[in-house]
Symmetry: C2
Subunit: 242 residues, 2 copies
Amino acid sequence: MTYCVAMRLETGLVFLSDSRTNAGVDHINTFRKMRIWQRQGERVIVMLTAGNLSVSQSVVNILNERLTIPDAPNLFNAPNMFEVARHVGEVVREVHRRDAEAMNEFGVEFNASLIVGGQIFGEAPRLFNIYSAGNFIETTEDTPYIQIGESKYGKPIIDRIVRYGSSLSDAAKCALVSMDSTIRSNLSVGLPLDLCVIERDALAIKSHISINQDNAYYAQVRSQWGERLREAFAELPSPDWI
Amino acid sequence: MTYCVAMRLETGLVFLSDSRTNAGVDHINTFRKMRIWQRQGERVIVMLTAGNLSVSQSVVNILNERLTIPDAPNLFNAPNMFEVARHVGEVVREVHRRDAEAMNEFGVEFNASLIVGGQIFGEAPRLFNIYSAGNFIETTEDTPYIQIGESKYGKPIIDRIVRYGSSLSDAAKCALVSMDSTIRSNLSVGLPLDLCVIERDALAIKSHISINQDNAYYAQVRSQWGERLREAFAELPSPDWI
């Protein structure tokens, strides 16, 4: 399984992914799920992947191949983020045409769920969720975030905290708290994490860090959040009818 | 959808259920999912139901029918809670034999998930999760709770708070916080709620209340929990690298 979340805020974009893959609980590996393409000052694109690993790796490989073919549509010549999302959707369909039938014969579902976001010079940052069928939706100010993979454990805290007007720092913090809740409840989501932050109009990555068990900030967030939750819970009034 | 949770603690049992059913988002109704059978001083049994409503209603009706047939195994003559769980499992299988094939023909999955718990004179309180196949598992001191239905949103807070040694009052409070997180994230879980508390060795219901929007305690828990979470979040250190 996987848990990835991304947020499009007034001031930029935040992306967070775990790195655990599993084909059964006895076949667990670490694969990064975040890919970055950037030309500083012109465009920056981040992709997070969930679903069947062979599908998402094929998508990434084809996207990179296309970068080397002159005049073909690719991530570096797409005129805007909408065209980037269409291009990625087309590549997902290409993989589907090639692999889905054979996968189905072996009882394996063709399953891909992608988050693609970024900014291209001339427009605001944008964030898309691309489905297995290659179609996609975009975040709005009302719903500024997208989750893929094992999303439910970590959704309530995002719903309570993150708004379009939230700061990048608060959004990154909330993404980490949401990830912590997911990791505690689901063995198939695990460290290390990839966290990437893009400031609006910078057209470059602001920070991209890998977080493992030794990361002091993440450790502090984990332990302090657990403590504070228990304190907050203890301060709630007790039912007087029990 | 449905969300139900029950906990078996050192000092007794807590049961909480919502009451929303849906067959598509345009077909939403209110059905209670908690059933209680008791003979004060001798036994008290509570059942919570999730899955296909026709299945769970059939199970309840057959369980009640059996109470009127002399000498047949039933909820009032089962010698212990293990036999209660077996009896309920048998009834689930009976409904399966009768309805599953016809349901499958119409593309409807036979889907039942039940929580059955209580205490019978002579043994400690016990709590079971009964599956569609009629088999079941029992809680232990390590894992003192069972959730059925839409369980993921409300799981992290229970994992952080509830232990076998928790008080009945804390467990009921935590069940309500867990329900609140679920209701906020999933439209198909909704009020009114049924909350039932059984004290160990009382062999009777201690309290059984219905909670709707006007319930002052639930309203206070909802608003105060939301506030405290936001405060706790604000107090977490901000990442200094963003």
